[in-house]
Amino acid sequence: MKSNNSHNKEEENPKQETSPNNSHTTTLDSRFNQTLRNVQGLLKGRSFPGKVLITRRSDPADGTILGSPGGSSSSSRSPSEINSPPSEHNHIHMDDKEDHIHRDKPNTSTTDNKSNPSLSISNSEDITKEAPRFVMGARATDTARIIKFTKVLGGTTVILDKLRELAWSGVPSYLRPNVWRLLLGYAPPNSDRREGVLRRKRIEYFDCVAQYYDVSDEERTDEEINMLRQIAVDCPRTMPDVTFFQQAEVQKSLECILYTWAIRHPASGYVQGINDLATPFLVVFLSEHLEGSVENWSIADLDPEKISNVEADCYWCLSKLLDGMQDHYTFAQPGIQRLVFKLKELVRRIDEPVARHIDKQGLEFLQFAFRWFNCLLIREIPFHLVTRLWDTYLAEGDALPDFIVYIFASFLLTWSDKLVKLDFQEMVMFLQHLPTHNWNYQELEMVLSRAFMWHTMFDSCPNHLAT
């Protein structure tokens, strides 16, 4: 995947690119191009509204972007560019716009966002310079997307499949709390029942807390005391770089959620990393009540009843999420081991030179991918991108464990050029601290789009993976 990665370009001497690896990369390029052609063939005539940017094209222009090793470094930042010649944006990447909406949020109230989705144009100069048509189209599409969301959410019964389809490509942040509750099956699709169900579930959670958490240590078993101790050690270490999470009340809520979950799921109990998984829910459900960016939130501004409700929603959504991957956290974590194995197989099929290099250097996939699966990539990307990533996770629903393997393959192969140049030690260090701190929605969505493409290719044709 030669030119997919603009980060390499910043870090490496361009000369390295014309190293003996050329033969590798050329093979790679042609294979990737082949992949693209296959997928385009596969998807021809089918529409995936807003899902992936396999765009209509009129010429076999792969070479323009992906060919010529060492060259063509100027393009390929967004998925739309990867999949079509730069000059031919006949399809718009809707989520580029999402991204602007997110950034606008702190300065605008939610109602503004609702009533005036077009406010995002102002942030699009970078795109404007490149292709004015892009902006026009993007704005239209974006409005259309919000209308679609509103329509799907507005009915008496939400059609979840439609919601998944839409949410896969990102949910506008002001709709996210409701969309997530629906996607996870926490809130019922039927709008008449919704409020009642949520009220009942919240009370059920409060009862659990009273029963399990709000008791003295004398009433706990040694095992429970150990678990509570472990959770208490980890809460202050959860999102330590986001000051909001350092507030005592936030940590108390987190502790309460985690402990209650752990007690009610004795097969796994609390496992380090589950604390990270609760954070996107906390942030998203709190965003219904707190304005501006997470950095400036103060939990003291919120009345206790609202905090309790948020906590209950987090608890249930975390539970729903983890229900789909129970054996990821049981003894020896077989679920994760299985997915790591699948990841290795998939990478071997997609990018054999990288797989061979990793193998030759003696690097085990478990050594780096374990954390990815355990924390669902939260540790590997900037926090402001996590909720966007989770839109896709939650839209996948029950299929998430399968699909996530494709996401992680795509994530890993973002650096395929780089990886083949590193020895064992350099690779471990590199994979431990991947250079994603400057990532924005484009980079993340590139990963997701490619994952979707590979999934479409391989998953329906298991023979691709067999040999």
Binding site: P240, V271, Q272, M429
Partner: protein
């Protein structure tokens, strides 16, 4: 493939593991030793992490490949796989939390079950800077280390106290074992390929060089 780099040259490559309960400061000990960094905002380690540093002993360059492991019990199935091939281990406890010291015994057993019997082990009491919160006395820990025939030191990753010394001591002791063994069998350890770890080997009597001597001060 990676270009050969002169600063990556070494005579010996030793694999060392850092183990101990969650939150005792293993990751900060590692970052203090390898990068001279300390962070109050560090996250829990998931699975294993890895860092290296080279030191000089007797005109030889020793490269330490240090594996930092997650402290939670649930991860032991994953982390114990890393004990294989390790020639040194630091078992860390928190001097302000007695329970982490009580668990040292389990960590020792864990280590002895999964690693080479000749592994060089040091007991490390971290967070020694928090004097007013001390819950484990130096004497108790020293007695325990003597009984278990391990080295012992108290450290503070925050104040960079004894961190350098503890790692250096472990690496030096491993070096003594290995170089003695090399003399014995006429092997050239320097010729070992990179990415491989020297195994102390089971024939060697490492216990002869083990003594409780390098205590805190």
């Amino acid at each position: 493939m990676a270009a050969y780099r002169a600063d990556d040259d070494y005579d010996y490559l030793f694999k060392v593991v850092l183990i101990g309960d969650s939150g005792v400061g293993k990751s900060n000990l590692l970052s203090r030793f390898t990068r001279n960094e300390f962070s109050l905002e560090s996250k829990s380690t998931i699975g294993v992490e890895f860092a290296t540093r080279s030191i000089r002993v007797d005109e030889k360059i020793i490269k330490a490949q240090i594996w930092d492991t997650a402290g939670q019990e649930r991860y032991r199935a994953i982390t114990s796989a890393y004990y294989r091939g390790a020639v040194g281990a630091l078992i860390v406890y928190d001097t302000t939390r007695h329970v982490t010291f009580e668990n040292v015994e389990r960590w020792l057993k864990e280590l002895r079950d999964h690693s080479d019997s000749n592994i060089v082990i040091m007991l490390v009491g971290n967070k020694a800077d928090l004097r007013h919160l001390r819950a484990v006395s130096t004497e108790d820990a020293k007695t325990f280390a003597e009984k278990e025939n391990t080295y012992f030191m108290e450290t503070s990753a925050l104040e960079a106290m004894n961190v350098e010394d503890s790692f250096t001591e472990v690496l030096t002791q491993i070096y003594h074992v290995v170089s003695r063994k090399a003399l014995d069998i006429g092997n050239d350890p320097g010729a070992l390929p990179k990415g491989q770890t020297i195994n102390v080997g089971s024939k060697d009597d490492v216990s002869a060089v083990k003594k409780v001597g390098c205590c805190s001060s």
